[in-house]
Symmetry: C2
Subunit: 271 residues, 2 copies
């Protein structure tokens, strides 16, 4: 683990990441010693820094540090946390602000092979995701909703749980974004007010355009998901993963555009 | 600073308080060596532990540690952070879970005397507060909205900023709750869906009942605040503080029930 470039695994309790969740993070797949989709992750981090009013971090320095941690790792997960650094008591932002960067490397999760061949078992969770247009899209450190959603998922022994906002729009999985296929059109939720704009979600949206697959970014309710021909979820670590079942509805994995899936899988493992 | 009872000022980066804001906190006024409103703070902490599914902390142990830090302090601020402890990567809660408690003592803020005699200058901030019925009321560690609201407040050189939800209900200040007085009735926002149920807010609600002052807990929009006779804000550290101005509207400080204010001020400084 590297903190501001130095090997360490502890931080000051005055860090605002701990005090208020005042910071951002990125979770990257590592393949053959290199972090995947690096530029996309850095672009999202940069958007977050700008919204939170943090000074822009040096992305080249981050890349050097990331590469040094990833060296020799065949498959792993790299986590980058960027906090606003230490501050006094109280919500007011410290000035000047000295952000803290924490890079850590983790084992590659052994997701069952069947997730990719037979699909995930999904449910809908009770935990709602809040609406906040200012923070929507960012991968910030305020993630209690996802923590509670993930717990529900585990308790129900499901692979993933979908989260709705208070208006019953289905927004995302507890640790993923999702797409639905209906009549050969792709749909994915509008994340203007809630959720995290996943880098693989972005990638899939671009690939769909390149492949001339019609795609709509819009509000989706549970019924439209149940009426869909196919569903799949995306995340940096899971990649692109078909859904077998939502509640009692079974989906046809073959209805996921095969070329889109193939290209997305390839791109997810490239730096 | 005490971490799990031992003097220290750093924690493991694997702490879920840092990773996800997965924890709770309390900020207490300290008066003559004792934390004020102790039982109320512990009650809220207990509610939070229950909602977040954390094992209940030993409140007697917390009190011993709090008293040892407060000893000899005439006026100070005590902050208690309770996290879900260390865990692996990913949102899933660690099992077993070993929560971490972090107690720190801070200088008493020198709020201007004029805040209490002439009142605060308030504005409305652009940062919205999200709605989430499950987390509403709790003083959890996901506080980015308050951080952004507080920044607006500082940039506008205001003493406090009121936060609205996306439905334009006024919910709270960036670091306080509020009450309005109209025709000798008290009003304070319903916090079922947003905000933090402040311990001084609770105290004021109880005192109003004891003093037979009519009180309504309801949704309030900006116009009803502008139409009010008086406003005041409450917090553990500020106590009870009248509002002089909101936007361009000036309020009559004398319309705040004097006996309620006196008793609340007294109770805020008692253990």
């Amino acid at each position: 683990m590297l903190i501001n470039g130095k090997p360490d695994d502890r931080i000051a309790c005055s860090d605002r990441g701990l005090q208020y969740g005042d910071g951002l993070f990125e979770t990257l797949a590592v393949n053959q010693g290199r972090p995947c989709l690096w530029r996309r992750h850095m672009a999202r981090l940069g958007r977050g820094e700008s919204v939170l009013g943090m000074p822009a971090s040096d992305k080249q320095l981050l890349e050097q540090e990331a590469l040094s941690l990833c060296e020799g790792r065949d498959q792993a997960v790299l986590k980058i946390i960027l906090t606003r650094g230490s501050g006094g008591r109280g919500y007011a932002r410290p000035s000047p602000c000295a952000p803290r960067r924490i890079l850590s490397i983790h084992p590659w999760p052994d997701y069952p092979r069947t997730w990719y061949t037979e699909g995930l078992r999904l449910g809908i969770c009770q935990t709602r995701i809040g609406r906040n247009s200012q923070l929507a899209g960012l991968k910030h450190l305020n993630r209690l909703e996802q923590v509670l959603a993930r717990s529900e998922c585990q308790e129900a022994r499901l692979d993933e749980c979908l989260m709705m906002d208070e208006g019953k729009r289905v927004i995302c999985g507890s640790q993923s974004n999702f797409f639905m296929v209906r009549d050969d059109t792709l749909y994915t939720p509008d994340l203007t007010h809630s959720g995290i704009t996943g880098v693989v979600r972005e990638l899939v949206i671009e690939l769909a355009r390149q492949l001339s697959i019609p795609l709509l970014i819009t509000d989706l309710d549970l019924q439209s998901l149940l009426d869909a021909d196919a569903l799949f979820v995306t995340s940096s670590v899971m990649g692109i993963c078909p859904v077998a079942v939502l509640d009692k509805r079974r989906y046809d994995l073959e209805r996921i555009p095969i070329e889109l899936r193939r290209r997305a899988e390839q791109a997810c493992m490239a730096s």
